[in-house]
């Protein structure tokens, strides 16, 4: 019997003549049709989104395609000849993904990756479907591999859908509590997701973060740890922003022998004896070269290596270390990680340098107390005078709850900032926080003139005023939350000072 209205008439007719095989084959055929329809719909939306100048079209196509054919993403991922890698963590996942992708490319692999910010399952789906042909079949060379950044909350679904060969977890900090609720809840979700993966998957974990390191205990996956062994960057006490001071095994106090930043360090439980695992990838000597970058001596199973990075701060050195550990699990030589690290362009708001009329600005995305503290530390470590613009919005991507700025150590800025301006929808919250932090103008006025004036919410206007105030040869540091930075960046792109980031990602590819 030929079903009326069946699409692709002649094919369906042929199927109808073979009653035995008819049902499964027709199902296979409708699956194929749905898959092709899903891919084509997604591609059309992406093309239109770009043609209309509505941004990169990096998520909606995948979202739509997934609605049409829910099995699409899993099927496309299965077709990747070298499988895929997932990278997650509160901070550093974008940078780690970039370095790893660069290293994999240098080793001759064809890397499929998701552009900055599109790290939900729909973003990964988009990056896969643009590589599929009109029949919905992935068209990639035998050397293709997927290297994807994944949102913390999306990791369980991503693991289930994509069956990764490698999962990298950089760290777990408090971030956007209105969206993720509690740090422990995310840790619990990760633990459950990793308890379901088998020994064919490798998990690369940060030994210095107790909650991340503990994930290695309850999984049958292969586990590889990375960590910092250099004692010179240890601080005397845990910071207030430390989220995890308790033993994940028995809930008693963790004793820290060394503390690097937030709750990262060398720890042991005095009660049950659970302690930081020894990392196979260890940074024995880290030289931080101010805002210029860092140089780490790293011991790896393949011997000692030097890892140079043009991105500043201990946290970026840790990202490079994570990338080196992960790359070596893929069989990529750590020397290629060194090459990739040196060529790493900064991602959206990760120390992006902008030159405006001969003046320099650096854009830093701040999302949570730990990241904000590290960015401030970086600004304060720079030589010369300090020019600072802070931006805070409370839209969904920023976190609607702005209370976390009270856990940022603005007190460290008191008396050390030459010029300071606040902006964004919640500029008045920043101004209030700075008042209680005792941030004053070093010039002797009771407080910076820019703060005495009513807060200017428009970050673009505030930026151009601030850059005017910044002398040649000095740098204006812009620390802003997601949508505040996005707004500023879009304007800088429109005025030709920066390239749009989805094009940047293509250049990198």
């Amino acid at each position: 019997m030929k079903a009326l209205g069946e699409t692709g008439g002649s094919q369906a007719g042929r199927l109808a003549g073979e009653p035995e095989a008819s049902a499964p084959r027709r199902r296979a055929w409708t699956t194929m049709t749905a898959r092709a329809a899903a891919v084509n719909a997604g591609k059309t939306v992406r093309f239109m989104s770009r043609a209309l100048g509505r941004g990169g079209g990096t998520t909606l196509p995948g979202h739509l395609a997934d609605r049409i054919d829910p099995g699409l993403v899993a099927a496309l991922a299965r077709a990747l000849p070298n499988g895929c890698v997932l990278i997650t963590g509160t901070n550093g996942k974008t940078t780690t993904t970039r370095i790893m992708a660069g290293a994999a490319r240098a080793s001759g692999l064809e890397v499929i990756t998701n552009p900055e910010g599109s790290n939900m399952l729909s973003g990964i789906a988009t990056s896969l479907l643009v590589r599929a042909n009109r029949l919905g079949i992935l068209e990639v060379p035998a050397s293709a591999i997927g290297i994807f950044e994944v949102d913390e909350g999306a990791l369980p679904a991503a693991i289930e859908t994509l069956s990764p060969r490698l999962v990298v977890i950089t760290n777990l900090f408090r971030d956007q509590l209105d969206r993720y609720f509690e740090v422990d809840f995310i840790a619990h979700l990760w633990q459950r997701a990793l308890s379901k993966v088998g020994p064919s998957t490798t998990v690369v974990l940060n030994a210095d973060d107790p909650q991340v390191a503990y994930l290695g205990e309850g999984t049958s996956a292969r586990v590889m740890y990375f960590g910092v062994e250099d004692r010179q960057w240890a601080r005397p006490a845990l910071e207030h922003a430390a989220d995890s001071r308790r033993c994940p095994e028995c809930s008693h106090d963790l004793l820290y022998e060394l503390s690097f930043y937030a709750h990262l360090g060398h720890y042991a439980c005095k009660e049950c004896g659970w302690r930081r695992p020894d990392p196979r990838f260890a940074a024995w000597k880290v030289q931080l070269q101010g805002v210029e970058g860092s140089e780490s001596h790293v011991s790896t199973p393949a011997g000692d290596r030097l890892l140079r990075l043009p991105l500043p701060g201990l946290y970026n050195a840790c990202n490079a270390l994570a990338a080196a550990a992960a790359a070596s699990c893929l069989g990529v030589d750590p020397d290629l990680v060194q090459v990739a690290a040196q060529a790493t362009m900064s991602a959206f708001g990760r120390f992006e340098r902008v030159s405006v009329g001969g003046k320099q600005a650096v854009l830093l995305l701040v999302k949570n107390p730990t990241g904000f503290n590290e960015s401030l530390r970086l600004v304060l470590s720079a030589s010369g005078q300090r020019y600072l613009l802070l931006g805070l919005n409370s839209n969904g991507p920023d976190g609607r709850d702005v209370s976390w700025i009270w856990d940022v150590e603005f007190e460290a800025c008191a008396g050390r900032i030459q010029y300071l301006a606040v902006s964004g929808h919640r500029a008045s919250d920043l101004a209030l926080r700075l008042k209680y932090a005792g941030v004053r103008d070093p010039g002797g006025r009771p407080e910076p003139a820019s703060l005495a004036a009513p807060a200017v919410e428009d970050i673009v206007a505030t930026f151009f005023t601030a850059i005017e105030q910044t002398p040649r040869g000095e740098t204006l540091y812009v620390l802003a939350s997601y949508t505040a930075l996005w707004t500023l960046r879009r304007e800088l792109v429109q005025r030709g000072y920066l390239a749009p980031f989805f094009r940047q990602a293509e250049v990198a590819r």
Binding site: L177, V183, S394, N395, D401, D407, S428
Partner: protein, 268 residues
Amino acid sequence: MKLVLGYLYPSVMSQYGDRGNVLTIQKRCQWRGIDVEVDHLELGDRVDPDRVDLLLVGGGADTHQRLVCDDLLHVKGDGIRHAVEDGAAAFAVCAGYQLWGHYYKTATGDELPGLGVFPAHTVHRAAQTGTKLDTITKAGSVRAVGNLVVRWGSRILVGFENHGGRTYLEGGARPFGRVLAGSGNNSEDGWEGCVHKNAIGTYMHGPAFPKNPALADHLIKTALTRRYGSVTLDRLDDAREISAQHRALQQATAKSGRWRRLWSDGVG
């Protein structure tokens, strides 16, 4: 004059910026020439009711609740109860508020006994609905998350709430305020928080004090009055506090469209 502030569980119960409340009390006293001493009272430390003038406790993770509960009952309980009954000021936020009630029924249905300062009890929404919290979406569906606007006497207070528990006041309990926007105690009866003597329990994070300076001053005043008799606080220039409060109120009452839509589509 000197104010002794007992900051309860600073390392496990200060997840939502509630440290800002401590900073606010310190600064607002300093600016008036009042000395402040902050006692960090961690797990295992006792509360001396004759020493502390003001007790502050913030919100924490559910996983720490059992630890804090044990400590409240067996270590700090007597000290806190004595201080509060003697008229000391106290401000307990979120998890702190919940554990100062009669009991707290957790997401998995276990009943944690509370301190009993407030005639109220709390039940986690997941226990009410039988929801298993195994995904972010499900965890989100049972939580009250968003801006919180409360009428407190003749004043309007603004903050942010983020809680899974629903609190119900028992007979004779005095609420802290009336909910104007948000959920408050349970999103059913329109009440927010609970008051017993000079102790206030509330769901208001934000943190509550910086943007609501009248509330901070109220607690400073009641704390000092117990020790020094009637006190008058010098007026401070609160222009920046009020401007932040107004902006937060605008945000709390406006529905932001674009970014929220984009976010639920997964952009970002």
